[in-house]
């Protein structure tokens, strides 16, 4: 194809990790997301390690979602070795995980996405004209960070979350601190929804697509062992390889996902599309009032969905932290030394799957499929359609098209470091 114009950004800003986009305009319009972030071979480096060390290594896959990358392998290890953790541990892990989602969404919405909506290159320049916005975003982010520090030891690479439970349980007064911070943050979360409800979604990226999400054990939660698709099909996580494949392309160090051979989406929008009925409280009222913003066929709705999740998860944090009475207990020790286990959780950006095989306390095999790797092909299609829609409707300004293409990419909240991790074929 003869290339008439090219839109190219080799190093996308305001995303996690290193990736670029190239849009080629000729008789057709094509887009490619180049994932140039280097490979780190996590599934190879964890082999031969003790399982608790392996879990600590896995959290280093990513800092924005280091909690999912610690708790999910921990769950898979516990499934492999027949470890049944206490109800208190399950509850505290849920709080820890929600804390991570709150921080991750706040970071993404306020520091990465909002500058585009308001026409700034970054949050620093945005802060000069909108100081309250930044202050609000930081308060949400700090709430998430505080929850993760209290329960995980620290908010990046949570060493306190371990196989069998926790190194040290939090104190009751720390729960009270969380309640207070969360109460103060709830209205900010609601105002975040209002912000994104001010903007229409470009119809150029309207495209029906498959959404995949977890079937939660309880409520609109992040833990479960069944995956549900928007084509009404569902399957147990242990058979994930039959329905979710990872393909290799030459321009991406990350492998890319297909569901039954087709591109698909995961993340906040997918969760709400599939599990909307499980949402309650203030978030439910908001969804009922803002129905038209939950457009399953448009990726911009992902920003809006993340804002809704901020409201929901903050309310849940208040509920859980108010209701819990910390009881002294020890971590559960493993009785088995070998086994195979699967785990799937809903990381901020979508489904995260771990498959782990252990022999004599040592990792024999590990596979990880991250949400960003799963939605890369869908993101590419949306990037193309955005450029195509603009070009074919008379917008020939390359810079403008480039900015809009980046907005679509950012709406997915891609986590590129996560997407590049390597497994044997």
């Amino acid at each position: 194809m003869k290339i008439e114009r090219q839109i190219r950004n080799d190093h996308l800003a305001r995303i996690e990790g290193k990736a670029g986009v190239i849009v080629e305009i000729g008789e057709e319009i094509n887009a490619r997301i180049n994932v140039t972030e280097g490979p780190r071979f996590f599934e190879v480096i964890t082999k031969g390690k003790r399982y608790d060390d392996a879990a600590a290594i896995c959290s280093r896959i990513c800092s924005f979602c280091s909690i999912p990358h610690k708790i999910t392998p921990i769950e898979a290890i516990e499934n492999a070795l027949g470890i049944e953790v206490s109800e208190q541990t399950k509850l505290l892990r849920q709080m820890l995980y929600f804390g991570n989602i709150i921080e991750s969404h706040a970071l993404h919405l306020y520091l990465f996405a909002m500058p585009d909506y308001l026409g700034y290159p970054d949050a620093f320049s945005m802060a000069k004209e909108y100081p309250d916005l930044i202050k609000n975003g930081m308060e949400l982010k700090n709430l998430g960070a505080a929850i993760q520090s209290i329960l995980g030891g620290r908010e990046i690479h949570p060493e306190n979350a371990i196989v069998g439970g926790f190194g040290k349980l939090p104190e009751q007064k720390e729960m009270e601190k969380i309640v207070e911070m969360a109460r103060n943050a709830l209205n900010i979360a609601v105002s975040t929804v209002d912000f994104f409800a001010e903007y229409d979604y470009p119809s150029y990226v309207d495209l029906p697509r498959n959404h995949l999400a977890i079937k939660p054990y309880n409520g609109y939660g992040v833990f479960g062992n069944e995956i549900v698709a928007s084509d009404n099909f569902s399957f147990d996580v242990s058979s994930y390889a039959e329905y979710i494949e990872e393909e290799v392309v030459s321009y991406s160090f990350a492998k890319r996902g297909k569901y039954k051979g087709k591109p698909f989406m995961v993340g906040a929008l997918s969760r709400i599309v599939i599990n909307k009925k499980l949402i309650d409280g203030r978030a439910k009222e908001i969804i009922d009032g803002y129905k038209k913003f939950l457009r399953a066929e448009n990726s911009f709705a992902n920003n809006f969905s993340q804002a809704i999740e901020l409201v929901y998860f903050i309310e849940k944090i208040i509920e859980m932290a108010e209701g819990i009475k910390i009881r002294k207990e020890e971590r559960i020790e493993a009785k088995e030394k070998s086994g195979k286990g699967y785990a799937v959780t809903e990381a901020p950006r979508g489904l995260l799957i771990y498959e782990i095989e252990i022999e004599n306390d040592i990792i024999k095999y590990m596979n990880v499929i991250t949400p960003t790797a799963m939605f890369l092909p869908m993101m590419e299609i949306d990037a193309k359609n955005m450029a195509k829609g603009l070009w074919e409707n008379g917008y020939k300004d390359i810079d403008l098209i480039g900015k809009k293409v980046e907005m679509v990419i950012r709406a997915y909240d891609p986590c590129i470091s996560c997407s590049v991790h390597m497994i044997k074929l």
């Binding site: 190093h11 996308l12 800003a13 305001r14 995303i15 996690e16 990790g17 290193k18 180049n34 140039t36 972030e37 280097g38 490979p39 780190r40 071979f41 996590f42 190879v44 480096i45 390690k49 060390d53 600590a56 290594i57 280093r60 896959i61 990513c62 800092s63 924005f64 280091s66 970071l107 520091l111 500058p115 290159p121 970054d122 949050a123 620093f124 320049s125 802060a127 982010k141 960070a145 030891g153 620290r154 908010e155 990046i156 690479h157 060493e159 306190n160 371990i162 926790f166 190194g167 040290k168 290799v248 030459s250 321009y251 160090f253 980046e406 470091s417 390597m422 497994i423 044997k424 074929l425």
Partner: protein, 259 residues
């Protein structure tokens, strides 16, 4: 006049940058600097001349190498931030393996447009002026480094082990009392012995202690006294510190026989 700084990542988890972005009074600290490039946070600013460049991540691809060289050419001072930049990180554990073999295992016969590498520290490619250790680094230490530079002074690395902080906090010694391979005696301090405080044995994420300190030997001798094997401790230290050039020497010394 404000110092010009640049913040960049090669291949990593982005935790060091996330920590910088999470500084409590970030806007106050930022008053002392002009941030010329920071891709994670801003779409304005490409790599250009700065007084101080802060770089996290290991060199894990040809592109990383080229970016690093460009940054080094255009910076008066280069600070390697975090375990990946200083020692290669957890991905640096693969050093010594044949990249082509691992690549083939993972990608089969597919050809990639880009050239990857086994992760290495920055100093294998360019001169590094300062190290800011951690995985991730502590906010306090980041601010200390930034403030020292802003004052025209220079930061000093800590030269004592995590044990000093553990004792100051009065935590029970995990190595002595729980018989677990806590790497505190061999790991650089700065985290206030957080993990031992949570009853979790230190995994050495801040990197090996670069100096011989008078009394670190005595606690390090406890590994041998507790019946732990040299290979076990070495393997654990290598999770974050495999590419520390004095690792073999240090482990030998720790396990040497008394006369």
């Amino acid at each position: 006049m404000k110092l010009k700084i640049g913040i960049h990542a090669l291949t990593s988890c982005y935790g060091c940058q996330l920590k910088i972005a999470s500084i409590k009074d970030l806007l106050k600290v930022a008053e002392n600097f002009d941030v010329e490039y920071w891709y994670m946070m801003s779409s304005s600013g490409k790599i250009k001349h700065v007084d101080i460049a802060f770089v996290e991540g290991s060199v894990s691809s040809k592109q990383d190498e080229e970016e690093l060289k460009k940054i080094r050419e255009n910076a008066d001072i280069l600070v390697a931030v975090g375990s990946c930049a200083i020692y290669g990180g957890v991905q640096g554990m693969l050093i010594g393996e044949e990249y082509k073999e691992i690549f083939k295992e993972v990608y089969g016969e597919n050809k990639m447009d880009y050239e990857g590498k086994i992760g290495e520290p920055l100093k294998n490619y360019v001169k590094v002026d300062y190290n800011l250790p951690g995985c991730p680094p502590e906010e306090e230490e980041i601010v200390y480094y930034l403030a020292c530079f802003a004052l025209g002074s220079y930061p000093e690395e800590k030269d004592y082990p995590v044990c000093a902080e553990c004792r100051r906090n009065g935590f029970p010694c995990i190595l002595i009392e729980k018989n677990q391979p806590c790497l505190g005696p061999l790991t650089i301090a700065g985290c206030d012995a957080r993990c031992p405080g949570y009853n979790v044995a230190c995994i050495g994420c801040r990197g090996p202690l670069p100096y011989n300190i008078a009394w670190f030997d005595s606690l390090a001798k406890a590994f041998k006294e507790k019946g732990m094997k040299k290979e076990e401790i070495k393997a654990r230290m290598e999770i974050f510190g495999k590419q520390y050039e004095k690792m073999e020497e240090m482990i030998e010394k720790v396990f040497e026989n008394e006369d």
